[in-house]
Amino acid sequence: MGIQFKDVSYAYKGLKVNYDAIGHINLTIKAKGEFIAIVGQTGSGKSTLVQHMNALLLPTSGNVVVFGQNLPPKKKEKINFLRQKVGLVFQFPEYQLFEETILKDIMFGPKNFKSTEAQAMEMAKRAASIVGIDESMYDQSPFRISGGQMRRVAVAGILAMEPEILVLDEPTRGLDPRGRRDLMKIFNDLHEKNDQTIILISHDMDLVSEYAKRVIVLKEGSIVFDGKKEALFEHPDFETFHLDLPTPLKILKHLEKEVGIPYQPKYDFDSLLDHLKEVSHE
């Protein structure tokens, strides 16, 4: 189960020529327990790739299998249910808010999937508490709260559908460092507590190195790397991926060169700090 890409290509239709966005993608994503980061330069096809995962885009050639449903579907096969199984959070999701109150907006998703009013309310409240929207805010207008809170409400709108796989397209873009950390913590908790598969598109290598377990690197529409993050940063062709090193690794490399502290990879700031304390004690 989960998501399988079999030799998938997608081309956007132009006036005279078609523009290939992604080509010959082969990929398997498990339904449980994965934390995947998709990285690559702007225009490398990341967003196009993830939009195949809940059938917003259908492959121009090849097959995608999402929870047993083959895509492109046969005639008259309904694919809407996939949107509930694979929750996709777009860039700047706060623009999708439209209801009068925050709670109603979060309920919109579940209600579209034939939940009763009471069930939808239940699911919405659960999602709101996950992202830290307080009960006192339920009846406020979603247009009268701060940008960071709007983002949380929008994310709750997807979480309320209780998707099995959560796909996030640059969820922290445009947030301040604090908001970024808080939001990533919510996703990481979901992953650790519920063993939920999370797929994250990000340009922020610090986030990738801290949270992701598996990294997929896209370059000009093809996968050039797919594997553990530990392997990525040691990859001999890392330069050709046009990616930044995460800050902790940069610091460690610098220290090795200037002070002579032996290099030992650490992927987030907390373990970096612990490591340096240890080294200084010796």
Binding site: L15, Q51, N54, L56, K78, N80, R83, Q84, G87, L88, V89, F90, P93, Y95, Q96, L97, F98, F108, G109, N112, F113, F143, G157, I158, M161
Partner: protein, 328 residues
């Protein structure tokens, strides 16, 4: 989403693309006046002129290198109107010689109604396989009458129809005239960028400044509106995808759900367009935009030989038509 005809500029390098937008607009107006000045009649001369113009328009299209299919697609929205006027003319003009010896007897009968229903079903099924849909629709409308004449069995009521040659000619005349007008105008939008078009309108309206019409404000509003159509379309598509991810099914759902779905699309787009407008206003102010102040532009337009030639040719065309009317 992508077949909205406003601002459907097709990049190219033909002489019509390079023509000064002011001249292009002015020539179009002159040509349209000319086309409309030819009187509707069934005589040989006006018919010949109209036919010649049609050929001329096709040659003009060919010379710009714009695919003929694109131009003909521009006719699609008015196919119904074209067909309707054609048949009205055909049935109501009662002069000239009759084409058939006796009036044709038309029957509204059980069989003909059944025949029409079957034909409409067949038409809807088969139209996706037909390349020239405009002609096919026309043919279908003709068939509806044909069936009425051919299946008189079990009649309910009947009427007689007489077709005169003049009716046929006049109908054809109007048909060609509307086609000419549409193709000419769409050639303008196909070969002119919206910015150029806007400049053309602005400078042609300039004389109105004397009577205190805020021409530059109107021009700015027009250009901003045109500029933001693709942007807002893009935003709409994004919102559509975002709401689709929340389970909105824009294709397969009941009418009751559709209302909520449209609201879920409209409100975000509304909010975004206000936000965009505000940002744009600030950006313009920051760069020192003052309403009515004198501004210079990056591209200066200059009248070249082809421009003069084109406008003279258009005027000669108009003059000839006026002359032929005066004589007649």
């Amino acid at each position: 989403m992508n077949n909205i005809t406003i601002g459907q500029f097709i990049p190219g390098n033909s002489w019509l693309h390079k023509l000064d937008p002011r001249i292009k607009l002015l020539s179009l107006v002159v040509l349209l006046v000319g086309v409309f000045m030819i009187p509707i009649s069934a005589e040989v001369l006006p018919l010949a002129i109209m036919g010649a113009i049609f050929v001329g328009v096709l040659i003009l299209t060919y010379s710009t290198g714009i695919p003929m299919r694109k131009v003909l697609n521009g006719l699609r929205p008015i196919v119904f109107l074209l067909t309707f006027t054609f048949f009205i003319q055909l049935f109501y003009v009662k002069s000239g010689t009759m084409l058939t010896e006796n009036p044709i007897q038309m029957y509204i009968s059980v069989t003909s109604i059944l025949g029409i229903i079957l034909f409409v079903i067949f038409y809807n099924w088969s139209k996706k396989y037909i390349k020239f849909r405009i002609l096919y629709f026309f043919f279908a409308a003709f068939m509806v009458f044909f069936i009425q004449a051919m299946l008189p069995y079990i009649p309910l009521t009947s009427y007689s129809l007489s077709i005169y040659d003049e009716g046929l000619l006049r109908a054809g005349f109007i048909f060609v005239r509307i086609t000419n007008v549409i193709i000419l105008t769409s050639l303008l939008t196909f070969t002119t960028m919206t910015t150029d078009l806007n400049y053309g309108i602005e400078s042609l309206l300039k004389p109105l400044k004397v009577v205190k019409v805020p021409v530059d404000v109107i021009a700015m509003m027009l250009s901003l509106t045109l500029r933001y159509i693709p942007t807002l379309l893009g935003e709409t598509e994004k919102i559509m995808k975002a709401q689709a991810s929340r389970g909105v099914d824009f294709k397969e759902s009941k009418f009751k759900d559709k209302v909520v779905q449209i609201i879920s699309l409209l409100i975000p787009v509304f909010v975004i367009s206000f936000k965009r407008a505000e940002d744009l206003g600030n950006a313009m102010e920051v760069r020192g935009y003052v309403i009515g102040a004198k501004r210079t532009r990056v591209d200066e337009y200059s009248i070249k030989f082809t421009d003069v030639f084109t406008i003279i040719l258009s005027l000669v065309f108009l003059g000839l038509i006026i002359y032929s009317r005066v004589i007649a």
